[in-house]
Assembly symmetry: C2
Homo-oligomer: 142 residues x 2
């Protein structure tokens, strides 16, 4: 019952009741000293490794999606076989290393503001994401 208030609030605001499993998910996601990228499977594995709480895949999916809807997490647009999520919800972009299946943050300061001149009637822009795919640079410029 001594759940951290900040996580109870986060869950409530996301339309979820604070439960043992969900609090644990919050701890893993939001206690970290750095933001990080994860897949659902990885998140389940982290929880299993650092707590004696059993959390089902379904609960993790539901909770993560509720947080995304609320804006506490972001999904990273990528054509990978699994979905990747990000605890860093600030405006930033990504490198994706296809050879190592690895995501690397690009800070907002490292990319000029992306200014889209075209508009679509009746629609507004919700988000703008830059994905830069990187590969090994074997032949350096001779």
């Amino acid at each position: 019952m001594a759940y951290p208030k900040k996580y109870i609030d986060k869950l409530r605001k996301s339309g979820l009741r604070p439960t043992k499993q969900r609090i644990k998910i919050c701890e893993v996601l939001f206690d970290a000293d750095q933001t990080f990228h994860f897949t659902i499977k990885e998140l389940v594995r982290i929880i299993e490794n650092q707590a004696n709480i059993k959390v089902s895949l379904a609960t993790v999916y539901n909770t993560v999606h509720a947080f995304i809807k609320k804006g506490y997490l972001k999904e990273i647009p990528l054509n990978a076989s699994q979905s990747y999520y990000d605890t860093n919800i600030s405006h930033h972009h990504h490198f994706f290393d296809e050879e190592e299946n690895r995501l690397i943050d690009i800070h907002q300061d490292d990319v000029d503001e992306v200014n889209i001149k075209r508009t679509i009637p009746g629609k507004k822009i919700k988000s703008v994401e830059v994905i830069a795919k990187i590969v090994s640079d074997n032949q350096s410029q001779k």
Copy 2:
């Protein structure tokens, strides 16, 4: 045997032998007067509707992936349940309308060049894609 030479070449350069099925795939993809976006299922359906050739999913997957590897098609980075491909391989970007599951091209001229100041040692940038998610703009600014 009267297959168009341009498609025989395209297939050969992609490491594939020209076959009836693959030529048909080429015709659907590259004869169109406009570039377009598609999923594998849609492509199979188009072929079935406009030809009396039976093409299996596996053949379409293999051929599309060979073309992507060669650079004749592009995969669009998106977290949709299916993969979306693009016959427009020129440098351009996309709106993705999540409400209607619809992709819209943004011409290169409509976005300032994305200049990434950060580099990753040993890696080079292979591609840079901008995805702008759009949603209905109901409450116009009052």
